[in-house]
Symmetry: C2
Subunit: 348 residues, 2 copies
């Protein structure tokens, strides 16, 4: 039953009101305003439109969603919206979505798979058109299984799942060539004369960082340099992770390192802060490289060598996958390109 409008609250103008004002049926008004295939008489069209304007009508999205059984909203799941990488990604996805007349709602997983699963459940209830999962992407078999189940249920009810930079799951994907990017970076650094490395990895269970570590290792091996396991330090996928990892390094290991590769820029920046704290200069005492090319790098001196991820392209591709409903398990790889800067000068 209708609840009584609160005192001081006006009932919103509905399509019914518009139809009455224009002297047509509600269906005709619907056809004119929210555009169906059917064609409507020019004059009625005008009458409806001007009635809508006069009454200041706006469509009730929820009602449309209920009636149509599907919405025009895609959900973007990120770990942390305050992180430079994810906020750029969000901006890119929103830009791309607009071109398709889609709304984007952002949800934050806080790097927590349980929460991720819960969010997917909620989004199923919201009839989201698609879910774009950016970031995280754990290798943990059990949790992944639960997540996959939930995602599958989402697709069963008509939604599309798009994975960004996280592999091995049976859904549409936009992949970064993390492996190739890191491999080429390693090769370029060796060519610059670097010989001894320390890698700052993130949680082993993260697919993307795993690939970046592997790629870097392969790149070195391609030039006959072996990366020992004790030259890989695992930490959190964040600024703090990079900072802490450096703080925890012992003196001799640090001294033996010519270059530190952090699997993402935030970690690299944290590492730089950590090095500064320990009285070491970049690149004089140790060189450093990151991955992502986040926007805030433009403020860093010396400029940071990194691998650029074209977020705009990633956003476009993610939305493209989200709207093509046929493309289940469709796969698209976006290239990442090495950007050499001052933090890794030519050696000797």
């Amino acid at each position: 039953m209708a609840r009584a409008p609160q005192p001081g609250q006006r009932k919103p103008v509905t399509l019914f009101d518009v139809a009455r004002a224009a002297g047509v049926s509600q269906s005709t008004a619907s056809r004119v305003i929210n555009g169906s295939q059917r064609v409507v008489n020019e004059e009625l069209q005008q009458r409806v439109l001007s009635a809508a304007t006069k009454l200041n009508y706006t469509a009730n999205l929820s009602a449309q969603t209920v009636a149509r059984g599907k919405s025009t909203t895609v959900a973007l799941l990120v770990s942390d919206i305050a992180d430079g990488y994810f906020s750029s990604m969000a901006a890119a996805v929103m830009r791309a979505a607009e071109a398709h007349g889609l709304r984007v709602t952002i949800a934050v997983t806080e790097r927590n798979v349980e929460r991720e699963i819960e969010l997917v459940r909620e989004l199923r209830g919201q009839h989201a058109r698609a879910i774009i999962l950016a970031g995280s992407g754990y290798l943990d078999a059990k949790l992944t299984q639960a997540l996959v189940r939930e995602l599958q249920m989402f697709e069963d009810t008509g939604g599309t799942v798009v994975l960004v930079s996280r592999s091995n799951l049976p859904f549409a994907q936009v992949d970064l060539d993390n492996l190739e990017g890191a491999r080429r970076l390693a090769a370029a650094l060796v060519r610059l004369g670097y010989q001894s490395f320390t890698v700052l990895g993130a949680e082993r269970t993260l697919v993307a960082t795993h690939d970046r570590v592997q790629g870097f290792r392969l790149g070195l091996e391609g030039h006959g340099i072996m990366l020992r396991d004790d030259q890989i330090l695992y930490s959190n996928f964040s600024w703090e992770g990079g900072f802490d990892a450096i703080q925890a390094m012992d003196e001799s290991a640090l001294d033996a390192t010519e270059l530190i590769f952090a699997v993402n820029d935030e970690m690299a920046l944290g590492a730089i802060a950590g090095l500064r704290e320990r009285g070491m200069r970049v690149p004089d005492d140790v060189a450093i490289a990151g991955f992502d090319d986040i926007r805030s790098l433009r403020n860093i001196v010396p400029s940071l060598t990194t691998v650029r991820v074209p977020v705009d392209e990633v956003g476009r591709q993610a939305i493209a996958r989200a709207v093509e409903d046929g493309g289940r398990a469709d796969h698209k790889v976006v290239n990442a390109t090495v950007v050499l800067r001052d933090s890794t000068p030519r050696r000797r």
Copy 2:
């Protein structure tokens, strides 16, 4: 009429299905699951709950919104989600919202009032519980008027409008003490020995930046230093704005400047890049200070003097205003605190 489910698509489980499985009426199921005031028999309660779990039921939010005539979603309007200030604000608002069981949808205005107005219209259609307007806030009378009209219509249909750091409109507000913060910063800088200043303002029409410029001016005047109009440079409220402003400064003006105050950190960082380009060092050749204390400042060397805006507190206050429906035109001021760092060393 019901559309036929697409091949391969399962119809989502509805409350009706749950009720039938539990052998109760739909109303009872509704009361159990989506909690009304009414009390339900313990045993039925269990039956409904277990049926829901077994069937993997999730409520259809849109349907709830339609039936209830109001939603649990608050909308956050920001200029640019990739901007460090706004993405932190978004994170803070989302955190605060969760504690109240509210969803947040983020919309991007691209610093465009027309777009802002359009978004508010849409949100009225979506029955958003509240709209939080962060950033921008123009002084332009005509556009502001149109925006206010739209916001008023939003409130007329039962929503709450919350303005963050933008004044003089008849809605609930969370205000930063931009004026006081800037005033205290100026005072602190004079005490450090600075005497000649250049201010990088943003579009004159932005309320927040206007207050920051005024506050800074007042702070200087308090110590007998006058800020001439030609010592205030107006530019865009962004990194590029700061960069460009410095590029455009003439040599003599730059030489005469001991300290540059940019009305936000992004501009300050842009300005630093601009100075670097012109071969000037910070703080040796010129000191610099910003406003906001955005997260990425932790990567900046020398560290940047600024005025800290406690975004978490702002987010909490904004959500608090959003939920208390009585509080129309309620007003809350959040303090900003001066943080002196290496970019403004003691002079002489």
